[in-house]
């Protein structure tokens, strides 16, 4: 047996996936907020993609104005509560805290942020002022962080907003893709419900926009359209055996895990392919679901992994083992996965080379591909005037607008796949861009 027993009940699942940033109590919040120095031109604020006035919201917690604190947070980031938990604060605000310079523990900014916004959500605090309706209508495709942030900002500016969401729940990867030990589904959905109530935008669920006909209707019915469509399914590697049972994409697996918890089956010996943050999540999650061995395989050395150090540490902390400078050449098995054949690699100059004759096999009963998500090129090609870069990312101008169309975009479909906080920032900025465009 591995470190974690296979969860069979909701409680066992919750225990295996206990929150790494649990909600602070009042005592913790008081002590932690007392430590903040209130730096001038604070590095934490500069490190935040949404530029939250962090020293201010912490000072407000400390003086007992928790409502004001939530107001400060939401003024910059509509995903304030979720970001407090899911942001990689170690490399953003907390990583920038000046205390690090003297090896003093940085302020736990994320947890303080989560604490302040939690109260506003629970008490349904009215923190936002909405401009009078201006008679203009905006359609948003995708209720992820970019789409919902764009909707909130547009409502604040007086627009009527309709969001069309393909799935049954809002928040995009916040609820479907983030590791369960970072945030629980209920907490994500509570914030979405709060925002929907406060801002009064309409969301239609289970209604994918995927035909030219759908797009034409939006173009006719709305003054502008924001695309917060994110990315598609896990990319196909083109390996023999890739279609065997139990060879799955990380994005799809994590979504299933978040929706169905302990009811999904994870193999006993798992091999994860990839070196990004999603690979680390998939490895951690497999271990917490009771896998006996989890191997994280990456084609280059550990220092070149795209994953943050703390994410790799999290995976190692629950027993995942790194296997570096290896490239999969075939998924082995008959019906189901039985192993992976790798070849060893070396980096010469900047080039990755396979070492001839170095092939070897590892037995496993599950392979998780965390090798990136597809871009939604087919969908985007249906829109006249859309430009994409070589990587299939939507090209936008500084206002978030796509060329000279009435389409705007933000989030993963534009940045290629970043954090919730980046999408939240981009959605909000695009709303300002739409406002400028329509007010001209």
């Amino acid at each position: 047996m591995g470190e974690f027993k296979r969860p069979e009940t909701e409680q066992e699942f919750a225990d295996n996936f206990s929150q790494i940033k649990p909600l602070m109590n009042e005592t913790e919040a008081y002590y932690e907020s007392s430590r903040c120095l209130f730096c001038y031109d604070a590095p934490c604020q500069k490190a935040c993609p949404t530029a939250i006035d962090i020293p201010l919201f912490i000072r407000q917690i400390n003086s007992g104005d928790v409502t004001g604190s939530a107001e400060t947070i939401y003024a910059s980031n509509y995903f304030g509560n979720a970001c407090g938990k899911v942001c990689p604060t170690e490399v953003l605000c907390e990583g920038a805290c000046v205390y690090n310079e003297q090896n003093v523990k940085p302020i736990e900014i994320g947890r303080l942020q989560n604490f302040a916004t939690k109260q506003a959500i629970e008490e349904n605090k009215n923190l936002f002022s909405l401009a009078p309706e201006n008679g203009k209508k905006i359609a948003i495709v995708g209720a992820g962080p970019a789409g919902v942030s764009c909707a909130c900002e547009l409502r604040a500016l007086g627009y009527e907003v309709d969001i069309f969401e393909a799935k049954a729940k809002p928040s995009g990867l916040t609820v479907h893709g983030v590791a369960p030990y970072k945030i629980e589904n209920e907490e994500v959905l509570d914030e979405m419900e709060y925002l929907e109530k406060q801002f009064g935008y309409r969301v239609t669920y289970n209604s994918p926009i995927n035909s030219e006909e759908d797009l034409r209707k939006l173009e006719e019915g709305y003054d502008a359209i924001f695309l917060g469509i994110g990315l598609g399914n896990t990319s196909v590697l083109g390996l023999p055996g890739e279609d065997l049972d139990n060879c799955v994409g990380a994005t799809e697996l994590i979504e299933e895990l978040r929706m169905n918890h302990h009811q999904i089956k994870i193999g006993n010996k798992v091999v994860v392919l990839g070196g990004g943050n999603t690979a680390m999540d998939a490895a951690s999650e497999s271990a917490r679901m009771g896998a006996e061995s989890v191997i994280l395989s990456y084609r280059r050395g550990p220092e070149e992994m795209g994953a943050y150090d703390f994410e790799y540490d999290l995976a190692k902390g629950v027993g995942a083992q790194g296997l570096f400078n290896v490239q999969p050449v075939e998924i082995l098995g008959n019906g189901g996965v039985e192993g992976v054949r790798f070849t060893r690699t070396e980096v010469v100059g900047n080039e990755l080379r396979e070492i001839p004759g170095s092939e070897f096999e590892i037995q496993c009963d599950m392979v998780i591909k965390a090798t990136g998500q597809l871009k939604q090129k087919d969908f985007l090609n249906m829109i006249a005037g859309v430009e994409m870069d070589d990587g299939g990312r939507i090209s936008i101008d500084s206002s978030g607008r796509i060329g000279s169309t009435k389409y705007f975009a933000g989030g993963d479909a534009v940045n290629g796949g970043a954090e919730v906080v980046n999408a939240a920032a981009e959605g909000k900025e695009a709303a300002q861009g739409i406002h400028q465009y329509l007010m001209e």
């Binding site: 109590n25 005592t27 430590r35 209130f38 201010l56 000072r59 407000q60 007992g64 104005d65 004001g68």
Partner: protein, 438 residues
């Protein structure tokens, strides 16, 4: 939306947060920057015959990891020419006509007072503050707190100023006096329009124990300074309350204010507005962005639509001791779920109070209140490091009210050394020798 605008004796400002006369108001540059950040008014660094200052000038008091819970300074009034200051006051008023600019003044003779009052009025000041409070340096020359400590002299100078002033005159009081009400009354008698308090408290903040000289050190020597910052707030609050209850003049509250909550406390004890210095010297003008929404949220929550509605709300609840209810009875309760087992409550009560907490043997470390010994003093609850872990719970049913004054009237008070009417007779204390086994 509550109205935050403030009016102190006719001096209007968009909000009640002013900068106190001090280094942050030394120049037009600073005052403009502060107004731009959101401050409602500024009392200019005291004008007079310019001085020569020493280096260094400040000493700080830290408590554990908290920096500057107290600040001590030996800087004097402005060292800049009057002409420069007047030009800058004029310029600030041009850019910020709705903000309050108050000229703090300190000179010696009647002629000087008349001249400088006219000068600052001509520059466009909205009010004048008379600095009768500075307790270091200037007082050696017969000014500052030397005036504030002599109510008769204070009254005379206020009269001189009022002979020529056409804008409101605020009299700034020194706390270095036994009864603050006396100079406050003198300010009223001299026809002053408002009082501001407190100025700094005479202090030595510490001694360099290697070189045998107090801080701040000036070439191996030192002098007493004026103390301010969060540490002085309780002293200032009491003096503000005394003035509010006894003297009919609007009050500008000063002393240790660094957030909205501090300001609200001053308002509830009778202040019309507040002045801030140390917190700005520590954190910059930016702290105003915590104070304004904090005050506004508090007013919304309490249903105050303007500042006047909350002014003095706590005053009726501050009485003399003899009028407090002796029948009111609270005892401590420990929340076992929250208790972390530090046992600070136990040792505080055991050694510092009434031996009303015991440790439970062979169990967890949560102490137990001995309710029959508990006098409800609060000590355990204020040493407890956990929010709401030890609470004081009421035990009387609220039906009885009996004060010392009533008992005095009823001839029911202890008068002799072994009088059984006192509170301690029969009250349990351990035997002295029990201490030796502990």
């Amino acid at each position: 939306m509550p109205d935050l605008s403030s009016n102190l004796a006719g001096i209007k400002s968009p909000n009640p947060f002013w900068l106190a006369s001090a280094p942050p108001t030394n120049s037009g540059y600073q005052v403009m920057k502060a107004f731009d950040a959101g401050w409602g008014g500024a009392v200019w660094k005291t004008l007079g015959v310019p001085v020569v200052n020493v280096s260094s000038r400040y000493g700080g008091v830290n408590y554990r990891d908290s920096r500057l819970v107290g600040l001590n300074n030996i800087e004097l009034i402005t060292d800049r020419p009057l002409k420069d200051n007047l030009e800058e006051i004029e310029e600030v008023k041009k850019h910020f006509p709705d903000h309050a600019v108050i000229a703090s003044l300190m000179v010696e003779t009647r002629e000087e007072w008349h001249q400088i009052v006219k000068d600052v009025e001509n520059a466009g000041s909205d009010g004048i503050e008379l600095n009768f409070g500075c307790p270091h340096g200037m007082c050696e020359r017969g000014m500052g707190s030397a005036v504030g400590q002599e109510p008769k002299v204070l009254k005379t100078i206020v009269e001189w100023v009022k002979e020529v002033a056409s804008i409101p005159v605020i009299v700034k009081l020194t706390p270095n006096i036994s009864d603050i009400v006396e100079p406050a009354r003198a300010a009223k008698e001299g026809n002053g329009d408002a009082i501001s308090l407190i100025n700094t408290i005479q202090s030595l903040v510490g001694v360099d124990i290697d070189n045998f000289v107090p801080y701040p050190v000036v070439d191996g020597e030192s002098t007493n300074g004026g103390y301010c910052g969060p540490a002085v707030k309780p002293i200032a609050l009491n003096m503000v309350k005394n003035c509010a209850q006894n003297v009919d003049l609007p009050i500008s509250g000063i002393g240790g204010i660094e957030n909205w909550r501090d300001a609200v406390e001053y308002f509830l004890l009778g202040a019309t507005n507040v002045q801030v210095c140390t917190a700005v010297m520590h954190f910059g003008f930016g702290i105003i962005r915590e104070m304004l929404p904090g005050l506004e949220n508090y007013m919304k929550e309490k249903g105050f639509s303007n500042l006047e509605e909350m002014k003095g709300k706590a005053l009726d609840n501050v009485k003399t001791w003899e009028n407090l209810n002796l029948k009111y009875k609270v005892v401590a309760e420990i929340d076992e779920e929250k208790c972390v087992g530090c046992q600070l409550c136990y040792i505080a009560c055991e050694d510092g109070a009434h031996q009303a907490i015991r440790l439970k043997e062979n169990e967890n470390r949560v102490p137990e209140i001995i309710e029959e010994n508990c006098v409800g003093c609060n000590l355990c609850s204020i040493v407890c490091p956990i929010e709401d872990c030890i609470t004081m719970e009421r035990r009387d049913d609220g039906s009885e009210n009996l004060t010392w004054a009533q008992r005095t009237d009823a001839n029911d008070i202890p008068t002799t050394f072994n009088d059984e009417k006192a509170g301690g007779i029969g009250h349990w204390v351990p035997k002295p020798t029990d201490a030796l086994r502990k």
